[in-house]
Symmetry: C2
Subunit: 236 residues, 2 copies
DNA sequence: GCGACGATGTTTGCATGCAATACGCGCCCG
DNA sequence: CGGGCGCGTATTGCATGCAAACATCGTCGC
């Protein structure tokens, strides 16, 4: 790698060309993936040494990536004690879910007013894939497609700022929401709710879509919260 | 606390104690202030050299601060060409205003449901100060208090995530919104709208407050957009 | 025996150094 | 006379070095 092949190597590698100037962003992306996948769980302390070795960069771009992820709300940096993955209390997730539900209600009416039929068709395709995942019992795939559907609905509002905020805030709580999908009763009902949501979107019924999304969020979060608070055991 | 009042405090200075570990955040705050005050206008290129000299830090924390501000949407960092203050097109501001209006509508109902009378009283105090600024012709003071009022209303929703997002997104467009307040006809009408908003809040009429805020935003932004597009000359 | 203290290795925070890229400017050629 | 090219300088991107803070553990005093 970059371990000083001394002379005669102007190019670092034929494949990884010119990452210069994007190092921190690249490292942040890698760490973000690991956090969102659960590989780096909430509370995990991130040592600069191990990450630099694992990612093949030095501490400077790594520390810049930490600042990015801290601003996104994924890391907490404690002075002189390094970075750790943010741990959210049920109350924190509660607040975040309220925000996400609010963002989706705002998006709902805009999406019905401005979304293109092509965008709606894409949501419908995702919906079909989600149903397929459910049938196949593929919980992870289901959850990922589910997230994609909600992001796509928000994107239908055709407001980049709204989409960006929704994406960032959604990422913050992704791990916590996953818990609620591990309950079979909720799973089948969520799919039915999605059917209605898709219909309302395609028929451009803004106020209805708004209420459906709000209710969908509320229902899902009610179950998830009980799981997080250990009042309900996942059965999947 | 952790300031070890033990013995012989080896603190370098009584005033600037232990900034270690907070350098980047401190620098980011300073630069943020300069951007929001207009001292660093949109498009301005930020040279590392001049900023390090002006702020008394080295390039490492400064570059970390750049990453923070980039993530907040205040700076754009072009690889190998440094950082510059983000320049928003009227369309960008349009999208941002739509988002802010949406966040306020979400906050409206929550604020009416959960806000305390003390919080409402604070909004009322700010409103009085705003009116005083208007009477005194203090445009800058008026604008600042105006921002405070809107932030306070959002804060009444008692949702930290919502407050944080509103604050960040509001900051991104602060400079652009200011233009619209430089029109006298809009100024007096905005104050009237605020009277109604305050009343609806105090009477906890969520849906009404929601609509009033939406209309208030729409009215304000309509004027501001015309100023930004040079179709309307400020008369203040 | 127990707790506080201190030595030492580890980790973080920031300064500095080096290499790569961008930029300004004069020159050459058309 | 204008445009492209090359060179020198400035600036950025990242690696490394050094000092402060932390942590771990052994020792000492009580």
């Amino acid at each position: 790698m970059q371990y000083a092949p001394d002379v005669a190597t102007p190019e670092p590698a034929p494949e990884a060309r010119s990452l210069r100037g994007r190092s921190a962003a690249h490292v942040a992306e890698r760490i973000r993936e690991r956090i969102l996948s659960g590989e780096l769980p909430p509370g995990e302390r991130l040592s600069e040494r191990s990450l630099t070795e694992g990612l093949g960069v030095t501490r400077t771009p790594l520390r810049e990536a930490f600042k990015i992820l801290e601003t996104e709300g994924l890391l907490a940096i404690v002075p002189n004690r390094g970075a750790q993955v943010v741990e959210l209390s049920p109350a924190d997730v509660d607040m975040a879910m309220e925000l996400l539900a609010g963002l989706e209600s705002v998006a709902a009416e805009l999406a019905c007013a401005r979304g293109t039929d092509e965008q709606f068709a894409e949501v419908a395709r995702l919906h079909a894939r989600m149903v397929a995942c459910q049938r196949a019992g593929d919980l992870v795939g289901y959850f990922r497609v589910n997230q994609d559907i909600h992001q796509n609905i928000v994107d239908c509002a055709d407001n980049p700022a709204l989409s960006r905020v929704y994406r960032t805030e959604s990422a913050r709580v992704r791990l916590y929401r996953f818990a609620g999908n591990r309950v079979s009763a909720r799973w089948s009902r969520a799919v039915m709710e999605h059917e209605q949501i898709l219909l309302a979107l395609q028929q451009r019924q803004g106020p209805l879509l708004r209420e459906l999304l709000r209710a969908h969020h509320l229902n899902g979060w009610r179950v998830t919260r009980r799981v997080l608070e250990n009042e309900l055991q996942p059965d999947l």
